[in-house]
Point group: C2
Chain length 200, copies 2
DNA sequence: GGGTAATGTGAGCGCCGTAAACATTCTAGG
DNA sequence: CCTAGAATGTTTACGGCGCTCACATTACCC
């Protein structure tokens, strides 16, 4: 039970990532400086170094919670998709996440990641595994790895192209339609399975 | 015919993008500072501001030549693809470009782009149009726009996932195989056309 | 040739990441 | 309980950055 003299913050480490997250949503990725985070957390510029080796380490921590939130979002779109439509809705959730939280998404994927961050590689591995599960469940006869890769890449690419305005996105619903259409095209690929499960 | 007293560089504007490009290849994107570019170009830190409004403007110029070089690369993979195999080879060129020049690729796609840069939007529009052409030629009966979007997204996503180590890439040839496999899956999608043109 | 626009310089502001030395608080072990 | 050390936070400082402004130099056009 802290909050006495305020010399020691009491719970800085998690507070830093939370603060960084807020700053990210409010002011974009360029504003995410270690000093700004410290300032907003009410602490001196050097304090964060007691908990994170450098700026990159903090950013990685933020990215890690981003991965978790993305995973939750996908799961809530559909807990365990096994039909093409369900797959499409998960794909949509992925792209919507990217569009609603562009700065976070860019931090997660838009810059080189240090491979020795366990928290981060674990989180991304989880997403990867999740996609693979979906692919295997939806198209049991297909090569799960290849299919999962293709699906993830397609969705990921859609997210990034929209994020960069390369696809003249307008409203979210237009984006959604486009995503669904693209997914639908891919689905038809694994013909045998798709014909059994797809609506049309 | 310059090179007298060296007060005036004589041709700074293009020299800046060239220098920036070199710096990018040698030292990565984080090292691409306006000051570093000016230093290497043998000019004072404030000089670039006579030619580019700010750092972002110079980066955009670099990105624009990146788009042109990417377009050349794709064209040289195959001038005007009209079969699935040719399409796959172009896709491979795209991913290889991303892996061989990661810093440039990230500058092109990994950060928000200002929409009022004519040079840049023109260049990206060219790539977009090129992809659409390929799609239309390879699968004349398909919805060219949707298909082009799906193909570009798939390839773009593959590039980025590899770039971020999300797909445990090993050798370039492994990457190539994966790209080809993914493309092949997508190709089968537009069933009617594909069955006429695909090798199997 | 001389005036004006284009181009480059220098000094300086405020921000950043990071390090080192120092201060305060927490926590175990005697 | 009390004290030594480990944690945690502060201060100060350094160099690099983007960017601006006043000024110097050069090029170009009448």
């Amino acid at each position: 039970m802290p909050s006495k003299g305020t010399y020691h913050h009491g719970n800085l480490r998690p507070a830093l990532v939370r603060t960084a997250m807020e700053l990210l949503e409010e002011s974009g990725e360029t504003a995410l400086s270690l000093r700004a985070v410290a300032r907003r957390a009410g602490v001196s510029p050097a304090a964060p170094y007691r908990h994170y080796a450098d700026r990159e380490a903090l950013v990685s921590a933020v990215a890690a919670v981003g991965y978790r939130e993305l995973a939750e979002r996908l799961a809530s779109a559909h807990p365990s998709p096994s039909t093409p439509q369900q797959l499409a809705s998960v794909a949509n959730a992925y792209v919507q996440f990217a569009l609603q939280r562009p700065a976070l998404f860019r931090i997660m994927f838009g810059e080189p990641c240090d491979h020795d961050n366990d928290e981060r590689v674990a989180a991304t591995a989880a997403v990867s595994h999740y996609v693979r599960e979906i692919a295997a469940r939806t198209f049991p006869k297909a090569d799960a790895d290849a299919l999962a890769t293709a699906i993830w890449a397609l969705v990921h690419g859609l997210a990034f192209l929209h994020l960069d305005g390369k696809l003249d996105a307008t409203t979210p619903s237009v984006v959604a339609d486009r995503v669904t259409a693209a997914i639908h095209a891919l689905l038809t690929a694994t013909s045998a399975d798709a014909r059994a499960g797809a609506a049309r």
